[in-house]
């Protein structure tokens, strides 16, 4: 145990700010790859929140949920990057605005 533990409010506030930065990134950036990275930022903020609550409530369940979030994030990145590659192979300079229709 480390002495002088940081209260969970600090961790939760950091996670909140990180989530907001990621959300602003998703709204501001137009490169689909960078938008995906910002989604990863948001997922990491949620993971941090889960671990903080797991520590504060003495419950391993929070860590198990983080485990599942990791798996879902990996699957999401695989599919999302596959879609992005197949879009950008047709139109090399496409931004997120150009792909507003679900057809080629």
């Amino acid at each position: 145990m480390l002495a002088a533990a940081v209260s969970p409010g600090w961790y939760l506030s950091l996670a909140a700010v990180l989530f907001s930065v990621g959300a602003v990134g998703v709204m501001v950036r137009r490169n689909p790859l960078v938008m995906f990275m910002c989604v990863e930022l948001m997922l990491n903020a949620v993971n941090l929140t889960f671990v903080t609550f797991a520590r504060d409530l003495d419950d391993v369940g929070g860590q198990v949920v983080v485990f599942f979030v990791l798996v879902v994030a990996a699957a999401e990145v695989v599919i999302g990057l596959g879609i992005i590659v197949s879009i950008l192979r047709r139109r090399p300079s496409a931004t997120a605005d150009d792909a507003s229709l679900l057809r080629g």
Binding site: L2, V24, M37, T52, D59, V60, A74, A75, I83
Partner: protein
């Protein structure tokens, strides 16, 4: 812009950070110092992801953020998750990002100056600030109540792997099996997405749209 040699600003920041960490450890204790340093790395990396024009730089900033989160996990004694965070996120997901960036060409720098949707950026920033302020206000003004839901207490003896594993294969077994299904679907989906048109070999296909400065997409016999 010359990129060789060590930037003096980098050296200065590193030295100042070291001094700050030593001072902090001495003045306010270990965990607050670790939290401050890792939190600065996390937020700095996040700002780098959002603000960098070059996708490669954004991906490297993402690595900084992920490492900072891993350090925070260690500070909260979630050692296994910290290792998984580094291995899966920094080791697999960011490498996947970098592969795709290299595949599509690194020249696709984002144009941050033009604003196709008028007023989108200020609105987004205002919304983000409001969201951050609201979330932090909720966190600050409330107290954490409630009992552990899983009934499996977290015994902090450094053996969190076996505790997570026991819970994963008892209470969350069904979710675990569904996760395996999800991964299979993701793999099949990736294969389907990566396939080109039916029965057409990639080599005989008409050249896919080539990116400027991209030597890979030239045909093997030299004609582009």
């Amino acid at each position: 812009m010359g990129r060789t040699g060590v930037n003096p600003v980098t050296l200065l920041v590193a030295a100042a950070g070291t001094v700050l960490v030593i001072l902090g450890t001495w003045l306010i204790g270990v965990e607050p110092t670790v939290f401050g340093a890792a939190g600065a790395i996390v937020l700095g990396g996040a700002a780098g992801v959002v603000l960098n024009r070059n996708p490669v730089h954004a991906a490297l900033s993402l690595v900084a953020t992920l490492f900072g989160i891993a350090v925070l996990f260690v500070a909260m004694e979630a050692n296994f998750l910290a290792a998984v965070q580094v291995i899966v996120y920094a080791g697999a997901i960011v490498v996947l990002f970098l592969f795709v960036i290299m595949l599509l060409g690194v020249d696709s720098a984002d144009d941050l100056d033009t604003d196709p949707l008028v007023g989108q950026r200020p609105v987004a920033i205002v919304l983000g600030v409001l969201m951050a302020a609201g979330l932090v206000a909720v966190v600050v003004t409330s107290t954490i109540t409630g009992a552990p839901q899983s009934g499996a207490g977290w015994v902090r003896d450094g053996d969190d792997i076996s505790q997570i594993g026991r819970l994963l294969f008892s209470d969350h077994l069904f979710a675990f099996e569904i996760t395996s299904l999800l991964l299979v679907i993701a793999v099949v989906g990736a294969v389907v997405l990566a396939r080109t048109a039916k029965g057409v070999q990639i080599d005989q296909d008409e050249p896919v749209a080539s990116l400027p400065g991209d030597p890979i997409l030239v045909d093997e016999d030299g004609e582009s």
